[in-house]
Symmetry: C2
Subunit: 225 residues, 2 copies
Amino acid sequence: MRKTRKNRNTPELIIKKSLEMFNKQGERNVTTNHIAQQLDLSTGNLYYHYGSKDEIILELARRYTNEFNEIIQRSISNSVEFGSIIQLLEDIIGLRWEYRFIMHGKFGMFPFNENIKSTYFATEHSNIELPASRFFQKLYDFGIFNIQQQDLDLLARQFSLLQEAWLSMQILNMPTRPSTEIISAGRHYMLKFIYPTLNKEWQCKCDSVFLAEPPSTATLFTSPQ
Amino acid sequence: MRKTRKNRNTPELIIKKSLEMFNKQGERNVTTNHIAQQLDLSTGNLYYHYGSKDEIILELARRYTNEFNEIIQRSISNSVEFGSIIQLLEDIIGLRWEYRFIMHGKFGMFPFNENIKSTYFATEHSNIELPASRFFQKLYDFGIFNIQQQDLDLLARQFSLLQEAWLSMQILNMPTRPSTEIISAGRHYMLKFIYPTLNKEWQCKCDSVFLAEPPSTATLFTSPQ
């Protein structure tokens, strides 16, 4: 017999378990029944807190975009230093890996679900795209880029899209890979992407990162070898 | 009463209709029943030709990677000219748009379907990645890149991944958009990506493309505005 215990925060448990299962098995293979089962809940109890799988997905997407925004906002208020930019990059990759089913969803699930699509992208625009764009503008004003102002916004968006796509492909290789490995490989991958757009001084800073910790081909590449 | 007419090439009709429906509605929303219905076939007749939806997907993936390979092989045997590289870029983007459900699948569907995952990536590796990598090597040997040899393979793969991810995002905006528009926007998007890695001469060639036909912000960006 299933019973919900008192004193446990059921909505929070549902959210945590859903994230874990979506990441591991793929959102499309996980139903609300599976989630309830794993938590030893009745499906009715789950529906009492979240009316549908979509509602769980939207709550996770809301948390993800809010956390993303907070990380960037903190960085915008700091001074521009190489070390703190590497830290920002690592924080973002770590967060994206934590919510990695959303990267898949963005390419595969959201486009055909009008409810998730419109709600998610409204949040993404204000909590990810705009702050990221402001952060790239700050770097540009500081003079680290060797590109034209008119290409800055495109660079910011390509940076973001490539990071998401790369993470999506990593799930192919090892969905349960430790986040420390992903963060280290992702840092190299994204520095290599941005390298040709940097001024000489910042290219040297990147070179010293590559020298100290040479990126392994196996971790950089995106498809199964 | 449903009847299959004689004289029609049923397997070919199934493939064409499946591609059309996968692209338009998303592969996950299309069942073999839907496909049979649209073709006025019995489900049994469909299963006589293709034992499952996976078999249809794999046949489409096989055609896509073969055509991709052929386009690149043709280009490898030509001399290196700016015009023919633009042509190659347009051909590839056009082909990818024609089979766009596969881009979605790669990020969203394949990772959790072992059968499709292993079969697709074996073909992708030999028919897309290796030829693309050889083509980038040819461009490098010709001297158009201002990067180091050791970064060439990474550039080729980033180029490919970004192209796929960008196309995936275009489906969000308009899955039925005419391929001519996509090809034109995609050409600009990918030239902008590769621009900082090119030597001065080839940057000038790109500049003249941008001048003649300025990329519109709306078509370049990936998310709904």
